[in-house]
């Protein structure tokens, strides 16, 4: 229970602690599609990132021509690579009031008293395509092409819309195929509500960029969409299960087709075609910069040219920087970035050169130009990068050599960040500290200390082991010798014969004391028996010893202690047996 409470507290702190969601606050405005009809609803999302709370609701400009309905607010926390990013999304449904092209946004949000603006988006509202005479039923597929006349390599937008009033699943799409025509999907399919012929439909829209590589009139065959249609089937009589939750539906496979279309592809005009035209069609711009613009001779500066735009960006050629006097030029691998959005194909190509001037002076880096066919103005255009200036100061260091490998491959790693560039390469200086002379030597290996460290521990262990073993052996042998001596002394006394009970008792006690290294003085028979039993002598032998000692004691206590005892012959046998049985 305690753990659960702790967990809840931690979760509460985690969700409410503003630091966890700290970061740069940014606002983005997104529309689900750039074009819609008067009867469609458009979803607009204003995303605030970097905070989970804004002071006010977003204020959005350019919504005068729309009925706006709020679709709720949702907050989010993402943990990506250990970095916590939080945000809040405001969703709106827009219902257009009139046709035209509108700029939606920017959205303004106040966070901690600071107003943050978003981007703006363009939305085109067209008249709805209505066919009042034709009822197309609860499920149909519609295709549209915009524009219907394009130039070679220009992109047209092919839009497919699935209008449905029933629940469908397992949708698969078969797109029309034609020679010299290429279709490329633009973004994810979007879903929205629309009205067609006075009936409300759920619409699934998917857009494609259609590009033709050759002129001509192309008939675009219908697209085919296969799916399973689920039809609701309720029981006729009301019952306990007469509830939408318990309604049963059955699936039916259905294939529907869109209408065929026609595309007129015009050839690119010959008039005004620049020499060396690469076939680039669309709308492009060029940017260039030199960083740094002031360096020393032998160092390197990076010239970056960025070509970006909308169109067949794969056709952007690799620009070549002309040979420059007294400047070595190392070209980097160009980087092509291709992206798609609902308006079509777009992207950029970044080209970089490392410039290494050999001598000081002021250098002019000539402009680079590229030609393309502008689909908006329907004419060829040539765009040029500006002429760049490079100031080169005299060389500072005597020994600078530049490796070509080093100059290659430096890429930017994020906004405002750049990988550390190696401008030159040289060896590091000599070691001059006197301390260095006392380290990094081979001394000690093979010397006396070396052998001592290897051998002394082993020697110490071995000698201790041997001494311990010898000591143990000596202790055992001393005890054995003492035992032998005591037994021998008693046997010899017994063999002398004519021993009195007193003498025999004293001899046995002496034997026991010496044999077992005791200092007990006089021993009772019971004590003597306990001792021999504890040393492993059998009970019968111990009992014999008890009997013998008791007989001797009886003789002493009855006044016959000084008389000659007749046990002198049995005692040595008994002692021999005891010696035999002792462990």
């Amino acid at each position: 229970m305690k753990k659960a409470i702790l967990l809840l507290i931690l979760l509460y702190i985690f969700l409410n602690f503003p630091c966890l969601a700290s970061g740069d606050v940014s606002v983005t405005l997104k529309l689900d599609r750039p074009e819609a009809t008067l009867l469609d609803s458009i979803t607009m999302v204003v995303s605030v990132s970097g905070t989970r709370k804004s002071d006010t609701q977003p204020t959005i400009k350019g919504l005068e021509a729309f009925n706006v309905r709020t679709g709720g607010t949702s907050s989010r926390i993402e943990i990506i690579n250990g970095k916590v990013n939080a945000g809040v999304d405001y969703t709106y449904a827009l219902q257009p009031k009139k046709t035209g092209t509108f700029t939606i946004g920017p959205a303004e949000v106040k966070v901690k008293g600071k107003t943050i603006k978003s981007n703006a988006e363009t939305l085109t509202i067209v008249k709805s395509i209505q066919s009042p005479d034709v009822d197309r039923g609860p499920l149909f597929l519609s295709a549209a092409l915009s524009p219907k006349q394009i130039f070679v390599e220009e992109q047209a937008i092919y839009t497919l819309k699935l209008f449905r009033q029933t629940r469908v699943g397992d949708i698969s799409l078969g797109l029309p195929e034609a020679e010299h025509l290429t279709l490329k999907q633009l973004g994810k399919p979007v879903e929205y509500q629309s009205v067609y012929n006075g009936q409300s439909y759920q619409v699934l829209e998917v857009r494609y960029a259609l590009i033709s590589s050759r002129e001509g009139i192309y008939g675009i065959r219908p697209s085919r969409m296969s799916m399973t249609v689920f039809q609701s089937r309720r029981k006729s009589s009301r019952s306990l299960f007469d509830d939408p939750f318990f309604s049963f539906s059955s699936g039916k496979p259905v294939t529907i087709a869109s209408e065929p279309l026609e595309l007129n592809v015009l050839p690119l005009p010959q008039k005004g075609r620049p020499t060396g035209f690469s076939g680039l069609v669309g709308n492009y711009k060029i940017k260039s910069h030199l960083e740094p613009s002031k360096i020393r001779a032998g160092e390197s500066a990076t010239m970056t040219v960025l070509l970006s735009g909308r169109g067949n960006i794969k056709r952007i050629p690799d620009l070549k920087l002309p040979e420059l006097e007294k400047i070595k030029v190392y070209a980097d691998q160009p980087v092509l970035m291709e992206e798609t959005d609902s308006k079509g194909l777009a992207g950029s190509k970044t080209m970089k050169w490392a410039l290494v001037p050999e001598k000081e002076g002021e250098y002019q880096i000539p402009s680079l130009s590229i030609s393309f066919f502008d689909t908006t103005g329907k004419q060829y255009r040539v765009i040029k990068s500006p002429v760049l200036s490079l100031s080169v100061l005299p060389v500072e260091k005597a020994h600078v050599s530049v490796s070509q490998d080093v100059l290659k491959g430096h890429k930017t790693g994020g906004p405002g960040k750049q990988e550390v560039k190696e401008l030159g390469h040289d060896i590091l200086p000599v070691h001059t500290s006197i301390k260095d002379l006392h380290s990094g030597t081979r001394s000690g290996i093979g010397g006396l200390v070396f052998w001592l460290i290897l051998i002394i521990p082993l020697f110490a262990y071995a000698s201790t082991f041997l001494i311990q073993k010898f000591y143990r052996k000596t202790t055992v042998s001393v005890a054995a010798a003492r035992a032998r001596k005591a037994a021998k002394a008693l046997t010899q006394q017994c063999r002398k014969g004519k021993l009195s009970s007193n003498d025999l008792t004293s001899s046995i006690r002496r034997y026991l004391n010496e044999r077992f290294d005791l200092s007990l003085g006089s021993l009772t028979p019971d004590e003597a028996v306990d001792i021999v039993l504890s040393r492993g002598v059998k009970a019968t032998t111990a009992e014999r010893l008890r009997t013998a000692l008791q007989e001797l004691e009886d003789a002493i206590y009855t006044g016959k202690g000084q008389e000659t005892c007749d046990m002198g012959g049995d005692i040595p046998k008994l002692i021999k047996q005891i010696e035999k049985e002792i462990r």
Binding site: I427, H431, R442
Partner: protein
């Protein structure tokens, strides 16, 4: 009384004079080291090299001296000699950051592309490459003392903790011992040699008239197999073999017998 004074003077002379002499010698080679450093700083690289060479040849074999020698040769555009001395320094100070940086830079400028394959031993005992023989020895020495000490304790006091500790130290002692043995073998049987000329012909036999098998360039590291009449039989990691004139190549292991002009194996 006079006898005591004489005895005191004799003892003082015996005890302190060798020390004074040693100190004078130390000052001598320290001076030489500073002079060589100064010469390097002033751009007199040949003088600096002479100073460092003198230090190395008078028994002051030291990783930092070899490093400085490498720098001097690099400045004189003698890439082969530079790499040779950097490699000698690497045996003694393998983890020195300056050395590794300079060696990498020097290797970048070698013309021949020769990949050194990694064997099982190099992979299993990966730490050997970044430790000097002296460091491996001291590591093993400490383990040796600890291992035998715990066994010694067990002679007098046997308990569970010292039983497991002795097992742990046994494993460490075996690893340390094997490492030391391998490093010792690696250092004392190091057959690597460096090409010192800008370009050398590798021939099929130890004769100038023999067929040229391939060419190698300054700074390339080869393996010396044996010597014969002023010729070295060398081998590359890709098993290419051939003969090269002894004066165009020098072994990294500083052994007078293996130096150019030394006696032959």
């Amino acid at each position: 009384m006079r006898r005591y004074i004489c005895l005191t003077i004799t003892i003082f002379t015996m005890v302190f004079l060798p020390g004074l002499d040693a100190e004078a010698q130390t000052n001598g080679w320290e001076d030489l080291f500073f002079r060589a450093n100064q010469a390097f700083k002033e751009g007199h690289y040949q003088d600096a090299i002479d100073g460092y060479e003198q230090l190395a040849q008078t028994g002051h074999e030291n990783g930092h001296i070899y490093y400085n020698l490498g720098n001097g040769y690099f400045r004189l555009n003698q890439l082969g000699q530079a790499i040779l001395n950097y490699e000698r320094a690497r045996i003694l100070i393998p983890r020195d950051a300056d050395l590794n940086f300079n060696l990498r830079h020097a290797r970048d400028q070698i013309q021949d592309v020769i990949a050194e394959p990694q064997g099982f031993i190099q992979m299993a005992f990966f730490w050997l490459d970044s430790l000097s023989l002296r460091e491996v020895f001291w590591g093993f020495g400490i383990l040796n003392v600890l291992f035998w000490s715990i066994l010694l304790i067990r002679l007098f006091h046997r308990s569970e903790w010292n039983y497991y500790l002795s097992l742990v130290f046994l494993v460490l002692w075996l690893i340390g011992g094997t490492s030391f043995g391998l490093k010792w073998y690696q250092v004392w049987t190091d057959g690597r040699a460096v090409i010192l000329e800008k370009e050398v012909n590798i021939l099929a036999g130890p004769d100038i008239e023999d067929t040229v098998l391939f060419k190698l360039h300054e700074g390339t590291i080869v393996h010396h197999e044996r010597s014969e009449d002023g010729w070295f039989l060398i081998r590359l990691p890709d098993k290419k073999r051939g003969w090269v004139e002894a004066e165009t190549v020098e072994q990294i292991k500083r052994d007078p017998m293996a130096l150019p002009g030394g006696s032959h194996n």
